[in-house]
């Protein structure tokens, strides 16, 4: 599976492994079930 894209100002590229791990650490999931997931 490809990693999600990251945008920095006008540049869009695929996340690095490190950036993807940081996103996953926020609790990110590919599919959401609710607009108000419980915060940490």
């Amino acid at each position: 599976m490809t990693r999600p894209n990251i945008q920095i100002d006008d540049e869009v590229r695929e996340m690095t492994e490190e950036e993807y791990e940081a996103l996953l650490a926020t609790g990110w999931t590919l599919e959401g079930t609710d607009e108000t997931p419980t915060a940490d």
């Binding site: 945008q7 920095i8 869009v12 950036e19 926020t26 607009e35 108000t36 419980t38 915060a39």
Partner: protein, 186 residues
């Protein structure tokens, strides 16, 4: 009350124009067009000593799934890793009961927007003091798709930041824009 009322045929002078520019309220600082299927958007160099207060507007953005948007402040390319405190109140569409939830308790980020697939993402948030050596604070109100939501936060560090990052809690966003405005000091 108007600074000056012009009449038909009157010449708009440079002095009048400069007066109106100098007395405008919100000033466009930076606008980013959201790319295709992005889960994180950084807006760099948008906070400075020119303005103390800012408004950020999300418009015309498509969401791939139900999501909230997290907000981080940036120092260069380094995001906040802790320090956010916040509470949000939400009410399901068609209901009248507001529920509170903690959205940050020394967290790396806090919510600032939300959307569901197929209905678009559009909201605004107000930020105070991101580039001052004092606490940064923001508030948001969202007429999202599944809920109405409003939240209040602060970042408990006397740190100056020059940019911000938005990440999705799930999926990605495409299209539309994120615009940063500054409130003219006077």
């Amino acid at each position: 009350m108007a600074i000056k009322t012009f009449t038909t045929g009157e010449v708009l002078t440079a002095a009048d124009t400069n007066t109106y520019l100098a007395n405008s309220g919100l000033v466009l600082v930076k606008q980013v067009s959201v790319g295709s299927a992005v889960s994180s958007v950084d807006i760099t160099s948008c906070f400075s000593s020119t303005y103390d207060n800012y408004k950020i507007a999300f418009n015309g953005i498509a969401a791939s799934t139900s999501m909230s948007i997290n907000f981080f402040l940036l120092s260069g390319s380094t995001p906040t890793s802790s320090g956010w405190y916040g509470t949000e109140f939400y009410c399901a569409i068609g209901a009248t009961t507001w529920t509170g939830q903690i959205i940050g308790n020394n967290a790396a980020s806090a919510y600032c927007s939300a959307a569901a697939s197929g209905s678009g993402l559009a909201s605004t948030m107000e930020i105070q003091s991101p580039n001052l050596a004092q606490f940064s604070r923001y508030q948001y109100a969202i007429s999202a798709t599944e809920y109405f939501r409003n939240g209040y936060t602060y970042h408990g560090a006397n740190t100056q930041y020059d940019g911000c990052r938005f990440t999705t809690t799930s999926g990605n966003i495409t299209g539309g824009s994120i615009t940063v405005y500054g409130y003219r000091k006077g």
